[in-house]
Amino acid sequence: MVLQRSAHVEKRAQDNREVSKHDATAALLRELVAHLRENRTQLREEWVRRITESKLLTAMTRDEIFAEATSVYDKYVAVLESGSVESLQAYARDLSERIIPRGVETHEVVGIVLLLRDVLARSLFKKYQSDFGLLNRVLDAYEPAANRIANTVAVSFVQERERIIRQQQEAIRELSTPVLQVRERLLILPIIGIIDPQRARQVTEQLLRGIRANRAKVVVIDITGVPSVDSTVANHLVQTVDASRLMGATVIVTGLSSEIAQTLVTIGVDLSKMKTVGDLQGGIEEAERLLGYKVMMEQNSDEPR
C-alpha cells in the first residue's frame, strides 16, 4: 500500500518535471526569438554574406537573395515562436515555384537553410559563451526546431519539383502523339522521342481512334525523330501497321535513317510487310498517289505573289 502510494507520488513528480521542462523549453525559445528579432539586421546580413561566399543561389541577384533571405528569416523566427511549420511549408512551396524555373538546385536550397541554422547557432554561442549550462539548454530547445525547419523546407522543395516533373510528363505524354489530317482521308503521325511499350500502346490506340474519326484510308507514320529502333520498337510498329490494316487503312512508314535501317537488317527484323518510303515528303507523295490525288504546280507560277 505504501509502496503503491510512493509510486503514485513518483509519477506525479515526473509529470511535474515534464511540464516544467516543457515550460522551460518554451521560455528558452521565447528568449531565443527575442534575441533573433533584436539582431535581425545583423544576422540577416551575415547569412547573405555566407550564401554569397559559398557561391549558392548563383542564378539570383544579390538584391533578390537579400529579399528572399529577409522573408525566410522572418518565417524562420515565426516558426520558432509558434512551433507550427504550416505557413513555412506554404511559403517554401511558393518559393520553390518561383526559383525552380531559374535553375536553382536542391543542394542550394538545403545549403542556404543549413547556413542560416549555422549562422544563428554561432550567434547563440557568442551570446551565451559565459554560461555553458545555459548554452546547452538553449541549444536543446533550438536544435530540434531548427532541424524541423530545414527538413520542412527541403521536403517542400523536392515535392514541388516532383509535382512539376509529373505535370511535365503528363504534358509530354499528351503532346507526344499528334494524329494530323493533311488531306481528306490522309493522316500523318510524326513520332518524336523514345518509344517505350507504354507509349507505343498509346500511339497505336490514338492512331486507331484517329482512323475511325477521320475515316482515314492512308496513314503516314514518320519516325525521323525516333533516336533508336530496336526489335521491340520494330515489333510495335508492325503491330500498329497490322491493326491499322484491320481497320482498312494502309500505313506508310517514313524516315528510317540509314543507321536504323542497317540495325534492323542486322538484327533481322522482318519489315517486308511494311510499306516504307525514305522521307516524309516521299511518304505523303506516295499516299497522295494511293488516294488518287494529283498535285501539280500552277502554270506561270514563276512570278512570286
Partner: protein, 124 residues
C-alpha cells in the same frame, strides 16, 4: 442466332448483330458459301461493327470463309473492326491473312468495286 444475309446487286452483306457462338460462325460460313454460289455473287461483305471480341476461332473461320469464297469466284471484305478489337487482335497475334478489310460498309463496297475493276483491267 442466325446472321441475316442481305443480297444487294452482285454483293452479299452479312451483318453480325451480336456476339456469335462457334456454332453460329460455322453456320454463317456455310450459309454464305451456299448463297454466293446460288446468287452468283462477286463480293461478300461481313460487317463486324457490333462485335467487341474477336477470338482465334472467329479469325480462323473468317479466313477460311474468304478462301472458300475466293475458290467460288467471290471476294470477301471484313468491315467495321473496332479500334479496341484491332489492337487486341494484333496483340494476340491473330491475323486475317490476305482478307480485305475496310473501315465500314460503305468503304467495303468501294473496295470490292475497285478490286473488281482492277482484276477486270488486268485481264485486258
Amino acid at each position: 442466332m442466325r446472321v441475316p444475309i442481305l443480297k444487294q446487286g452482285e454483293y452479299l452483306i452479312a451483318s453480325i448483330q451480336s456476339a456469335l457462338t462457334d456454332q453460329d460462325l460455322m453456320q454463317l460460313r456455310d450459309d454464305l458459301a451456299d448463297r454466293a454460289g446460288r446468287f452468283r455473287s462477286r463480293g461478300i461483305i461481313v460487317d463486324v461493327t457490333a462485335l467487341d471480341v474477336m477470338d482465334s476461332f472467329a479469325c480462323r473461320t473468317l479466313r477460311s470463309l474468304a478462301y472458300i469464297l475466293r475458290l467460288r469466284g467471290a471476294q470477301t471484305a471484313i468491315v467495321g473492326i473496332q479500334p479496341e478489337v484491332a489492337f487486341a487482335m494484333v496483340q494476340l497475334g491473330l491475323a486475317l491473312g490476305e482478307v480485305e478489310t475496310a473501315l465500314d460498309l460503305e468503304e467495303g463496297l468501294v473496295r470490292l468495286r475497285q478490286g473488281k475493276l482492277r482484276s477486270a483491267s488486268s485481264e485486258k
